[in-house]
Each structure stands twice: as structure tokens, then as C-alpha cells.
Symmetry: C2
Subunit: 318 residues, 2 copies
């Protein structure tokens, strides 16, 4: 199998997956088939049997488990995997693509059956053809399966909520990374909705890694004293906005309303931390698990799931 | 090996571990040796080789990953395991001992090399002799390795901190489970220290599962209006105490000081939520990883690690 892979110029895992019936790109299929013919390769039944024996393990790659959004997501991923008698490998990547790649390799080493990943690194060149890989919140190519909240809807709903709470000067506070991910759409669609309504709009969109977040927010709020409704890219950003407003002696929600996004809670039984547009964490986990198990079994599955969001009213909006 | 295990009345895993050099109880050793002699059993070299090949995986059993203390602990456990080229299986037990037992079985099935567990269930009868198992915060027997914060010191330090902040009427607010665990020592040592000083002392110690926590705290504070310093069993309890104090119009820390325990943060870069006695989460994770890997390798290791705690001043103490 190694020889076939070498001759075809692909990984052993790709050959193995192809032999076991997983679909691969036409081009790859031809290269591998040709190599098989040239080498008179007959798949060893024992090896096929071994390769086919599932490990009943899926790896979850996260930036860090020490974050309420990621730990809630991991909680549900483990719960749904467990219902399928699957175990979960947990990987905190801390943004290191080499560490992420190690987990991708586990699939070829037959130590795990698939990967669910929340990643903002340049991991794309590790994702080989036919690898059972589900990306959360980030679109690689349309060949790579992914699950996300409907981020456009998030921005539109944020506008609607603040509009209905009588906000007149809207603001967006967020940050963005050089690697494009779907969360950037939150601000874009919010801005589009506000501008369409001809209401006043200001924005603070910082480049990550952000230094002195609160200092920048403070300067922004002092420059734009009439802002009375702020949509923050996530709940943490909203908490920082709240801290700055308190420092400036502005009352929330009387003077300024603040709306976050994600819907984080420290744990299941605790309360939300701000009014927020909630991502459907549990539904995202369920979709990701269903998709990765289907891909691992070589079954057909939808490659894209955009899930709906909802407004959670807490103490920071009227 | 199965026949030997049956005759000796122990698990196959115990026989396997003994053959591979892991120390077992004298009594077990004799039973297994006798069975081996009776059956003329010669360990199969291939089987020994297979058994010896490590899986480089450790399982972490937690009540739930969706909790800042547990997710911080899991973050560090994965980090230290990763330095040893080990992977982590994550198990949210949700208090189900059957689910925990599944992970214990993985060791016998040679799917993982050891277990680190935070558990309050009746899991003890699943923990067989010589199983590489490290318990966090709970003492099973002195044969089972465990790592904990020095909970006695926690209570003593809490008293010292509040005493030095001029508290005159001390109170303890906490809850306890029917399964004894070390966290109960926090309240006991705090109470002992206050009583020794002859200062005023009141306590609210609820039996879990606690219903209407805030209602009980409110009644307790109304009955004892002179309380001016409260030590809560953990930071969540402290947050509930703070919510009730706000509702009662009492100022923190001016009228009443509140001190929690654990030292939770939503994530690495966020702030503490109350003044607190901090558990050394990172050091606990490092000890647990070192111990479980030593046990898995059949090496000698300390069986008990009590780690030191520290005071973190935040906004709820003077």
C-alpha cells in the first residue's frame, strides 16, 4: 500500500480510504488506480479488515477547552459521541497548526476515525482528500464539511433587537483575524442593516491580536458620545464594553444598551452574562457528530450546515 | 490468561498487569501465582508484547467539562500529557458511575494506559488492584493514588484573611454530599479556626442536591444580620451570596466581605470573579499526569499529593 501511495504521489491514508470505499477526487482516483495496476497490487484482506475496524474515537480540536463557549461545545460533542459509543480525544491547539496536524495524522494511523475542528490556523494543507473532517465556523473549500451558526442572521437579528429597543446611534465593536472566518459576517451584516435604515452608525473593528482592548473601546466611546446601542462581536467583547461604560459612569441599559453574541454561561446551571444572540451550541455539536460519523463510515452527507440563532434577553438591553 | 483470572477470582487486567511487572496486593499476587502454577500457564510472549505496547492515551473523567474549574484542569492535563506525547480521552460522567466504569474498562481493553478522575460516585468497586488510577480531591483508600488541594489549609487561610480584614461575625456558607470528599474540610477547618478565636460564628451547610440555594442564603442572612464576613465553599456559592447581598441592599465589601474558593476564571485571560482561596489547578494537573504515567509504566510513585493554596484578592474583600 505504501508503494502504491508513493507511486501515486498521495498519502497511505488516501489509498487505504479509497480501497475501503470512501470517495476521493477523480484525479486522485485515477492516479491511485493506475499505480495499483502498475504494481499488481492486491489489497490484503487482513489489512482491509484491520483498516475497516473502526477505533470508535473522534478527535476534537479547539483553540482551548478553557473557555465557556468551547467547553459547552465539547460537552455536547462528547455527549452525542457517547450515544454512538464513541470516545473523544481532546486537543487544545493553542493556535499551533503542528499540534493540529498531529491529530489529523491519527486518522491515517488508525487511532481515530475522524476530526471535528474549530481552528483559525493554516491547517488546510494537512487536510487530505476524503479525510473525515468537519470544520466549525470556518469554510475551507466546499469539499470540506462544515457547520456554523448563521452569522449573517446574527448581525441582522442584532440590528432588529436594538432597533426595537429604540436605539438611535448604533455601534459595532469587534475584532478580526487575518484568517477569514465566518464570525466576521456578524459585523458586516449588522453594519449593512443599520446603513440600510439610515440610522447613525459607528464602528470599532480591531486587528487581532488586540492590545489594550479596553483603552481602544474607551477612546471610541469618548469620540462618539451619542452611541446608545452597542453590538459586540462576542460576549467577552460585550463584557469589556460594560466594564468601560461603568468606568465612564454610563448606565446600562438606561443610557446605553449592550448586546453580545455566543450566549456563554460559566456552566449549564449558571446565568447568561449579557443580553446576547445565542449560537445553537447543542445543535451545532449534534450536526458535527452526525457529519463526522457519516464521513468516517464513507456515507453520503450534507457538507454544509448553517444553523439558526436566537435572542436571549438579559440585563443589558431594555 | 482468562482461565488464570477465573481461577484466581480476579480480572484479566489484574493478571496481565502482574505478568507485566506492575505491583499488586500480596494476597492477589499469591492467588494469581497459585492459579498460574495449577494451570501450567506460560505467558505468551506475543501477548505480553501486545499488552506492553502503550496506547499513549489517558482518560480524564470529570462531572462535566462545562465548568470553569474543570475546563481549566482539563486544559492543563491535556497540556502536560501532550508534552509526553500522550493523548487525552475526555469523559463527562454527569455523575453516572456506569459511564465512568466504561472508561476504567478501556485500560483492560488496552485502549488507554490510565485514568485521572474527579468523581463523587460509588465508583470504588470498579477500581481494581494495580489499575493506573489517580483520584482528584477524593480519598478512596490509601492504595489509590490521589491529588488534592490542602483543604484544611483553605479553611485556615480563609479565617486568617477575613480576620486580618477586621471581620467580627464570621459565617460559612456551603453544601455537602453524602459521599465524603475533601472539600468538606474547608468548612470544618474554617469553623475550627473561628471557634478557637472565640469570635462570633454562624453557618449554613446544606445537603446536596440543594434546592433554592439563594432562598436559603437569604433566610440565613436575615436571621444573622450582624454577619460581616462570609467564607463560601466555592466561587459559585460566593456568587450566589453576592447576588443575595445585592438584593438585600448590603454593600460588598463595605458592609459584608465575601471570600470564595477555587479561583475560577471564565478563561485564562479573564479576571477572577470574587476574592478567593485559589486551588493550584496547574500544579494539580502536573502531579496527576506525572503520577498516572508512572503508575502506567509500573514505576514507584508517591500515592498522595496535597498541594498548597493561596489567597487572591479581588473586589469582594477589603
Amino acid at each position: 500500500m505504501k508503494d502504491v501511495a508513493n507511486l501515486a504521489g498521495v498519502g497511505v491514508g488516501t489509498v487505504s480510504r479509497m480501497i475501503n470505499g470512501t470517495k476521493v477526487k477523480d484525479e486522485t482516483f485515477q492516479k491511485v488506480t493506475q499505480a495499483i495496476q502498475e504494481l499488481d497490487f492486491i489489497p490484503d484482506e487482513t489489512a482491509r479488515g484491520l483498516k475497516r475496524s473502526m477505533t470508535h474515537t473522534v478527535a476534537l480540536i479547539l483553540p482551548t477547552i478553557w473557555h465557556p463557549f468551547f467547553s459547552e461545545f465539547a460537552y455536547y460533542v462528547e455527549k452525542f459521541l457517547s450515544q454512538h459509543n464513541y470516545k473523544l480525544y481532546l486537543c487544545n491547539s493553542d493556535g499551533q497548526s503542528e499540534k493540529e496536524a498531529e491529530y489529523v495524522k491519527l486518522v491515517d494511523q488508525n487511532r481515530c476515525d475522524g476530526i471535528i475542528a474549530i481552528t483559525y490556523t493554516d491547517i488546510e494543507h494537512y487536510i487530505s482528500d476524503g479525510l473525515p473532517f468537519v470544520s466549525i465556523d470556518r469554510l475551507f473549500t466546499h469539499d470540506v464539511a462544515y457547520v456554523a451558526s448563521d452569522n449573517k442572521k446574527i448581525g441582522q437579528l442584532a440590528y432588529q433587537v436594538l432597533k426595537e429597543s429604540s436605539v438611535s446611534h448604533f455601534a459595532y465593536v469587534g475584532s478580526h483575524n487575518r484568517v477569514k472566518n465566518r464570525t466576521m459576517e456578524r459585523g458586516e451584516s449588522f453594519e449593512a442593516a443599520v446603513l440600510k435604515s439610515s440610522a447613525l452608525f459607528s464602528k470599532l473593528d480591531m486587528l487581532e491580536p488586540v492590545v489594550d482592548n479596553k483603552t481602544q473601546i474607551k477612546a471610541f466611546l469618548l469620540e462618539n458620545p451619542s452611541i446608545d446601542g452597542i453590538f459586540a462581536i462576542n460576549d467577552y467583547e460585550a463584557l469589556d464594553v460594560l466594564a468601560v461604560l461603568t468606568e465612564l459612569g454610563r448606565k446600562v441599559p438606561e443610557d446605553v444598551q449592550v448586546l453580545g453574541c455566543d450566549g456563554i454561561k460559566m456552566s449549564a446551571e449558571r446565568e447568561y452574562v449579557v443580553s446576547t444572540i445565542k449560537q445553537p451550541t447543542e445543535a451545532m455539536a449534534k450536526s458535527a457528530v452526525d457529519m463526522v460519523l457519516a464521513l468516517a463510515a464513507g456515507e453520503e452527507t450534507v457538507k454544509e450546515q448553517l444553523l439558526d440563532v436566537s435572542y436571549i434577553k438579559y440585563q443589558t438591553t431594555k
